[in-house]
Every structure is written in C-alpha cells, then in structure tokens.
C-alpha cells in the first residue's frame, strides 16, 4: 500500500504572481435515458450488480450495438444549448484499450467526428462579471463498467486482494463535453472552473437530459491544469506557450473542482519555481486530504488506435430534426435568471443569494403556486437556507415543497398565522407532520380572530400596567411595545400583534 506523500506547494498568491494558469475541463454527463446507449438494458442507479446487462453491453461474442435515438437527441440538445454547431454527418469510433471493466476492450465513442463542436458557455462569476468558456466539442460515448477493488485500504487496485466488476453501468450513454484551453482567468481560475461546472450543471438540469448528481457519478469532471510564466513587459500573455498539463480525475463535487484546481496550481508552481518540470500524468483528487496524487503516467505510448466503428451506421441528423430539437430548448439559465429577477423585483444582491442557495426553480414554482415573490424568497433563502447552513443541507433537502411555501404564505396573508406561528408550522412540515394547513390544525396554531377576547386582554394589561399606560397617553407611543408584548403573552401568541397595537392606542387615546 502506498502512502500519499505530501508534495511541496507554493502559496496561492505567490503562484499567481509568477505564473499564469490555464485550464481545460472535461465533463462526462450520464444521460437519463431509460435504456443504454447501444442496447435496451435499464439504466437505473443502484440496482444489484450485473442485473442490468445483456449480450450487447456485456460484449458477448456476436452481439451488435444499435444506437439509442433518444441519446442522440439529448446529445444534439446539449450541443445546441452550448451554442455548438451540430454535425450533419458523424460516426462513432472505437477507442481500443484493455481493461477488465470494458466488456469489449474497446469503448464505442466518437473521435474526429463529434456530434457537436465549436460552442461556448457564458459563466457568471460571484462579482457579477461574465467569463466565456469556449467549448471544443461534445461527443457521445458509452460508460464502462465499475471496478470494485476489495482488500487494501485505498479502494484502488494497488494493494487490493481481488476485484469485482459491475457491468450495470457499462453502456450507459455519456456525453463528454470538452472545453478549449481556458486562459485569462488569472487568480480567478479556480472560481471560473467551479462556476463553469455549476453553470453547466444548471443547464443540463434545465434540459432534463441528466440527473447531474455529482455524488452518484452522473456528472464527472476531469480538470486539466497547466501553468505558464507570466508575460514579460510588452509581451502578450497569449504569446507565452502553454505549459505541461496534468489531468486530475475523481473531482466529484463543485467544491472539489475549485479546490483541486487551486491545489494543482500551487503544486505546479512549487515544481516550476524550483526549476523542475511537470510530468504529464493523470492525478487523483482526494476529497478528504485536499491533495492530488500521481496516477498513471500519460505518455505518447498510449495509443487508442481509433477507427470508425464498423458495426454502426453514421449519425446524420437532418436540418429539420436539429431545428425541431432547437425548438425544445429551455431558456438559457442566465437569461432566465435576468428575466425572473426583473419579474420578481429582486435586487442584484437578493438574486445572487437566491442563485447561490440553488432556489431559483423553487421560488419560481412557489410563485406559480400563489406565493408572493418576496415571501417565497424570504422562506427559501431566509428561513430554509439558514436551517440548511446549520445542518449542512441544501434548501431542497428538508422535504419542503414549493406548494408548502405557497400555502404557508397564503395563511400568513389571510391573517391566520403570524410570522412566529408560520415558523412553527414550517417546523411541523419539516418534521413530516403534513402540509402547512394540516400542521397548523394539528398544533392548534391560529391567530385569534375574536376581537372581544383581544379587547379584554388589552384592558387587562392596561389595568395591570398603569405607569406604562400613562406614558403612552402622554404621547410616548413607542412605550406601547411593552404593552403589546404583554397582550401577546396573554393571548398565548395567537393574536395579530398589529391589531393589538391598534386597540391599545385607541384605548389610550394615542391613535
């Protein structure tokens, strides 16, 4: 078993002072088609190992692939959403290499004829500026099986006693999206990388083409990083040749994307600064320790012997097909956000909170269900985000639906609940006690609508606090606050505080 040695790193500031980082991101997206790329097997996540397999995806002798048309449609829609050109004619290709989790010992992929190419994705950064990520290509391929290395402590093949292979994943449709080298991001490179993956994830989610669950591997990111010296005086940074890159795999959360890029920048910088040179290699990201370790070396000897897949016919989408698919595209997320912000009347800051909380869709659906935009925002990015931060959860992980929020808001606006009671109702919803209405009924939470009871409580409080009452009579209206508090206590919280204030002021002739 190998222990990961800690490699020297330069501080981030120093690294950026001396070097210009360049990135390239490869994102693999598992499509959510019901069947696999080249056969009719099911694609559900988490099934018993080797139960979603057939002669085709097991690569049994004689079996032949047939292209999943739905997957091609998804690929074209992704390409269009990334502003790519769609190939009028393209082929699959075989990528040949031996590995036990590859049933045929070649992966059916695309090589020099991708289905989509030459696009871009605009990415909004935290400070509101936009970085344009140029997309090199998006191509179709099949996923491999999954190896499980048993024994040994790293879960990797080295040191394992034996390995098991689950071919359920083999043949699941993948789209690989490859960026052009991302330059000019400077010290914001890690942020750009994260924002790109995040924006891409939003886009794919809006397209309904993938579950985009990074933790389940339906969205996987490989980050290529290289450094080049800062341009000399009078020299354009673009004229400085690119450095040697490393490809970091296993970067499976947004936070990891940012951290891994940052780590590699610091690690490269230390090597280069000490006069060393970067080894072109695959590296593995370790979420727990926050470092990368060397994987296999990528040498020129690696030759996949690509050639056009003779078992499949070319994919040649007609112009009409492409146009029809274009018509199914959702509004681009950035544009949609701008429109919603205007509709909802949110400030830039408010909207950014909403986006960061991942609550755009939730608020949109809450508003559609009848909530006011302001209260929907208050519930999702105020109340639920606060609880989320405390519990390390997303706002959508409490079991609270947009319908619940709309119902809660309606009960407040109808005067049945005050804010404090509404929060108690939310607790009940989170606890699984039912819808807001059911929770309020069950817990007996309801503002007292009976004015007689309220007036009686006011009279009782005034009688018990003559000095305070006198102050209010004398014009110190703010002193009424103490009386309101007492009235609310008397009413066990189930009164409309505004109404209580109104009656107190009337009684004391200060209205």
């Amino acid at each position: 078993m190998s222990t990961a040695t800690t490699e020297p790193v330069l501080s981030y500031d120093e690294a950026l002072e001396k070097f210009d980082p360049v990135m390239g991101l490869e994102v693999h997206v598992e499509l959510n088609t019901h069947t696999k790329m080249f056969c009719g097997c099911a694609t559900g996540f988490g099934a018993e190992p080797n139960t979603q397999v057939c002669p085709v995806c097991l690569g049994l002798p004689g079996a032949l692939p047939v292209v999943n048309e739905k997957a091609v449609e998804s690929a074209i829609r992704i390409g269009l959403a990334l502003n790519c050109e769609i190939a009028q004619w393209c082929r699959f290709a075989r990528k040949n290499y031996f590995y036990p989790d590859m049933p045929k010992n070649f992966q059916t992929s695309q090589y020099d004829e991708p289905i989509a190419f030459g696009g871009y994705l605009d990415v909004e950064l935290e400070d509101g500026t936009t970085y344009r990520v140029e997309i090199e290509r998006a191509h179709m391929e099949e996923d491999t099986g999954k190896s499980l290395h048993v024994g040994g402590s790293t879960g990797r093949i080295h040191g394992a006693e034996y390995s098991l292979v689950d071919y359920n994943r083999a043949g699941i449709p993948l789209i690989e999206i490859v960026t052009k080298p991302m330059t000019g991001a400077g010290e914001r490179a890690p942020e750009v990388a994260k924002a790109y993956v995040s924006t891409l994830r939003d886009l794919l989610r809006a397209l309904h083409v993938s579950d985009v669950r990074m933790e389940q591997g339906s969205l996987r990111c490989d980050a290529n990083v290289s450094l080049r010296p800062r341009a000399a005086e009078g020299q354009s940074q673009d004229d400085v040749p690119l450095g040697i890159r490393t490809e970091t795999k296993n970067v499976n959360s947004l936070r990891s994307v940012e951290r891994a890029v940052r780590y590699e920048i610091c690690r490269h910088a230390a090597i280069l600064d000490a006069g060393g040179s970067i080894t072109q290699e695959t590296r593995h990201w370790h979420e727990d320790t926050g470092v990368t370790t060397s994987g296999r070396e990528k040498s020129d000897a690696e030759d996949y012997r690509y050639f056009p897949e003779p078992d499949l016919v070319p994919v040649a989408p007609t112009r009409e097909t492409v146009e029809a698919l274009k018509a199914t595209l959702p509004e681009p997320p950035a544009q949609r956000r701008k429109r919603l912000q205007a509709d909802w009347g949110f400030s830039d800051l408010e909207m950014r909170d909403v986006v960061n909380a991942g609550a755009v869709e939730l608020i949109e659906e809450s508003v559609e269900a009848g909530a006011t935009p302001a209260s929907a925002r208050k519930w999702w990015t105020g109340e639920l985000a606060r609880r989320g931060n405390a519990a390390g959860k997303g706002v959508d992980e409490f079991g609270v639906t947009p319908l619940d929020v709309a119902e809660l808001d309606r009960m407040v606006r109808d005067g049945r609940l005050n804010d404090n009671m509404a929060r108690q109702v939310l607790d009940g919803v989170i606890a699984g006690e039912g819808s807001p209405l059911e929770v309020a009924d069950a817990r007996g939470l309801e503002l007292v609508q009976d004015d007689d009871a309220l007036e009686a409580a006011v009279d009782k409080v005034i009688a018990a606090n003559p000095e305070v009452a006198e102050k209010v009579r004398g014009g110190k209206v703010q002193a009424a606050g103490a009386l309101i508090g007492q009235v609310m206590k008397e009413m066990k919280g189930q009164a409309d505080a505004g109404k209580a204030r109104q009656i107190i002021l009337e009684r004391l002739g200060a209205g």
Binding site: P61, G62, V67, N105, F106, R305, F307, V313
Partner: protein
C-alpha cells in the same frame, strides 16, 4: 438413384416431408447416421447435436400431424458454421480461446432457422475466427475435402461446404468475409452465396471483420441456396448495418432462371495469369453455355481489383484486432494463468490467455491490424486501404452500368493438398483474390460448380457477381447455368465424387 434421403436436395426433402412420405425425425436421423458414418474421415463437424436436432424434428412432425401450417423448409435439417452464436450449443469459432463457451442467446439467423422449424444438426468446423482459406487453421484439426481426403475443403467455411458435399447435411450456414462461403463451395463442387452486405443479419455472428462479414447459404443446388437465403435474409433491427428493405425474391429467381438478352461481363482482372488451366477451361465453357442460352457476353475491366488483396489485408486485420480484443479471459471462455507468477494481475492473465488461446494465424492478423491502426501509420495503411475500397466500389458501379452481372472463376486453383500452403501465408491469401472484391464493395456473389479440372479431376467453381441488393440476379443466372451444366454432365457433379466409407453406400 438410391432412396437414400441424404442424397436428396433440400427442396426435394421439403417436398417429401410435405407429402408426409417421410418424417422430419427420419430425415434428421438419416443425416445423423451419415455424419456418424463419414465424419470421422471428413471432420466437417465440431459439435453434433443429435438430441437437439431430433427434438426439433419430432416437434415439427407433431405440429405437421396436428395440421399446423408450417414453413416450407420445416423439418429440413441444417448445419451451422461454428461462428454463429447458438443458445445452449457450444460456439468455439474454431478457437481454443472459446473452448467450452455456450452462448446464452441465439444469433438472429439461428432464431430464423429455428422459427422455420429447421433442425440444427450441429456446428461446423472452420479456420480459427474464420481466418484462412483451408480450414487448416482450426484449433480442432482440419476438415478434409470429400473429393480427396488429402486435400483442403477450402476455408474458412470448409466444414459447412464439406458437410454438404459429403451428404452429411443438405444445407449449411456459412459466413463470407473474403470468400469463405464461395471458395469452399468451388473446391468441394457445391453452391454458396454471399448475400449483399446487410442482406442477412450479423447479430450473433462472431465478428471477424465487421464491415466485410456476411452470412449466407451453402447447398448442393442453386434452388436450395435460394430457399435457405430466403429463410435467413431480411431486415433485423438488432443489426444497424442490416438493410431495411424486404429480402430479394431469390427463390422466384432460382425457379425461373433466364439469361436471354442479359448482359454478362467477364472481369478481365480476375482470370488469366495465376489461374490453373483446368479452372480457366471450365470457366470458358460455362461462359460459352450462357452465350448459347442467349446472353450477351462482354469483357469489362476493373483496374482497382489489382489492389483489392492488399487493401483487404489491411482492413480485415485492423477490424479483427479490435473485434478479438474481447477475448480476455475475464468473462467467458479460456482462462490461463501465467506460469511462475504468484499473484498475477488481470493484464497478466489476459496476456497469458491470449497467448495460449489464439493460433498463429490469428496472432499474425492481430499484430498486423494493431500496427495498421497505430497512430502515425493509420493514414498510410488503414486510410489508404479505405480509399482503395472506394475505388473498387466505383469499378463495380461502372461495370454494372454496362452489364447485369459479372463472371469470374471463384478461385484460381482447385483444392490444394493439406499442408501445402500452411507455411506460406501469401500463397494462402492469393486463393481469395477473385472473391475479395465483392466483400470490399458489399455486392453479392455466388459460386457454383463449373466442372472438374482435367489435370487433377477436382471441382472448379464459377463466380457470379451482381450489384448490391440485386441478389436475385445471381440465382437467375446460376439456375440457368446449373441446368445447362448438369445436362452436360448427365447428373449433378457430386455424383462423380468418390464414395466415402459410408455404410450402405
């Protein structure tokens, strides 16, 4: 003619069964008996499934007795080349690496045979993974030519053609990547058709070279080939390269052969030098018979055919190197542990298994293909070969603008002796020089017997080629020529074959 049912054609057997003059079980048993009697010498079969074949035959008899409407070929037994996946029946492709593998599924073609009610007698011998022209590259020993047991039966489908020639089966399935149906047919005095690429489903055909492989019928008569062709042909959604159109009307064509007014081209590049005199003489005779029958014969030139063999031996190994990568001991078939390695890795097991499980010819082609696809060599080899392939297609197109069908000898020689070319791969490869262009262009081709060469008394074959999807033309011309030749010989050519040591023969 004796009443031995194994001597009857498939069409005759179908008639006998339909008239209930014999049961399918009797017909199947007769062929199993014949196999038992002669296959020790011929070795056409790698696996005989007596039980399965008889069960299928009895099922047909039961259904016929019950008055069920059956397929015209129901009860006619058949042999299947061991390259087709057969559920529950061993499928080795003539290789050690697949020893013991029993597929969990049927090839589409096999499903169609079963659906038609044709009992499968067994699996026939072949060159390992269909690489060869003699069946000597089978890991399970060679098949012998029923005309002369010291000679090769052709290849790779020597087992299928020999089984048919030795009356062990009236029909057999072959596969043809560069001539593996037609060349064995030629050297065993039988008929074989390579349909248009995409005409018969490849689903379940263990791929040698995906863009060239095509399964087809082996038989003793042109009509029998057509009957089998129509059972296995037609679109299959499981094969993306399958032609999405109705199967061509081959039976109709075979029953109503006619060449009057037909334009027939003799390919200048496929004949002449390198062709055995007897082969040429029989070819010229056949051409003359067709002229007498009313065909117009012209010579056509297909200059790119000269490069067909070279292009073929780049494309085939390239695809094969990838297709055969799956045989790695991980999931099925042979598994060999490397010697002297305590705790071998998966890669070491793969290497040891492939070293032990593949024969020399297979290794030769995997190495060739791996090299041809390597980065830096791809354009010079695979890329150039694909260009030649395009040129060959153009030559065919140009020729078929002038003529309806093309003719050539099927193979340059009659059957050579076992071992004669085993150490000279180039000489072996040259045996397919006339058959390869059709595979490269995807056009259909048929070989039928043209007679016996004077110099050695062995069968010669004539090849008919037609434009893609015009398979029916092969049968229209083939039926006419067959009739004229059989009349001339005074009976089928196979009646002149030496008697094998069959009981009662």
């Amino acid at each position: 003619m004796s009443t031995d049912i194994t001597r009857a054609s498939a069409a005759e057997i179908a008639d006998v069964l339909a008239r209930r003059e014999a049961s399918a079980a009797e017909v199947t048993q007769a062929h199993l008996d014949r196999i038992a009697a002669v296959d020790g010498e011929v070795h056409a079969f790698l696996h005989v499934d007596a039980e399965g074949a008889l069960a299928a035959a009895r099922d047909i008899d039961r259904r016929r007795a019950a008055g069920e409407e059956l397929h015209v070929m129901a009860g006619v037994p058949i042999a299947v080349k061991d390259v087709m996946a057969t559920k529950g029946l061993p499928t080795t492709c003539g290789s050690k690496i697949l020893q013991g593998w029993i597929p969990p599924y049927d090839a589409t073609l096999v499903r169609r045979l079963r659906a038609a009610g044709m009992p499968i007698l067994g699996k026939t011998n072949m060159d390992e993974f269909a690489m060869g022209s003699s069946t000597e590259h089978s890991a399970y020993g060679p098949t012998r030519n029923p005309w002369d047991l010291e000679r090769i039966p052709g290849g790779s489908g020597g087992g299928s053609s020999a089984a048919v020639a030795a009356f062990e089966a009236p029909l057999a399935i072959g596969t043809d990547t560069g001539g593996s149906i037609r060349q064995p047919a030629a050297v065993t005095g039988t008929v074989g058709t390579k349909p248009t690429y995409g005409g018969v489903s490849r689903f379940g055909l263990v791929a040698l070279a995906s863009s060239l492989d095509q399964a087809g019928p082996c038989s003793r008569t042109v009509l029998d080939a057509a009957l089998l062709h129509s059972v296995i042909g037609g679109h299959d959604p499981l094969d993306s390269t399958s032609i999405d159109a109705p199967a061509p009307p081959v039976v109709e064509a075979a029953r109503h052969g006619d060449v009057k007014g037909m334009r027939i081209g003799v390919v200048k590049e496929l004949g002449g030098e390198g062709y055995q005199p007897g082969v040429r003489a029989r070819f010229d005779e056949s051409v003359k018979l067709l002229v007498d029958a009313g065909a117009e014969v012209v010579e056509v030139s297909c200059p790119s055919f000269d490069y067909a063999l070279a292009a073929y031996y780049l494309i085939l190994p390239s695809e094969a190197s990838s297709n055969l990568a799956k045989f790695d001991a991980m999931r099925y078939g042979l598994r060999v542990l490397p010697e002297g390695v305590d705790d071998p890795s998966a890669e070491q097991v793969m290497a040891a298994t492939r070293d032990a499980g593949f024969g020399d010819e297979v290794k030769r082609r995997i190495i060739l293909g791996t090299y041809a696809l390597s980065s830096g060599y791809y354009d010079a080899y695979y890329g150039q070969a694909q260009k030649v392939r395009t040129l060959i297609s153009r030559d065919f197109n140009a020729a078929f603008e002038k003529v309806d069908v093309l003719l050539s000898p099927t193979a340059p020689t009659t059957a050579f002796r076992l071992g004669e070319k085993l150490d000279d791969p180039m000489a072996m490869y040259l045996n397919d020089i006339a058959t390869i262009p059709a595979n490269l262009a995807g056009v259909p081709g048929m070989s039928l017997p043209s007679g016996l060469a004077e110099e050695d008394g062995l069968p010669t074959g004539i090849q008919i080629l037609a434009p893609a999807t015009e398979d029916a033309r092969l049968y229209r011309v083939g039926a006419v020529l067959e009739k004229l030749l059989v009349d001339r010989w005074g009976g089928p050519l196979l009646t002149q074959a030496p008697v094998l040591t069959a009981k009662g023969a």
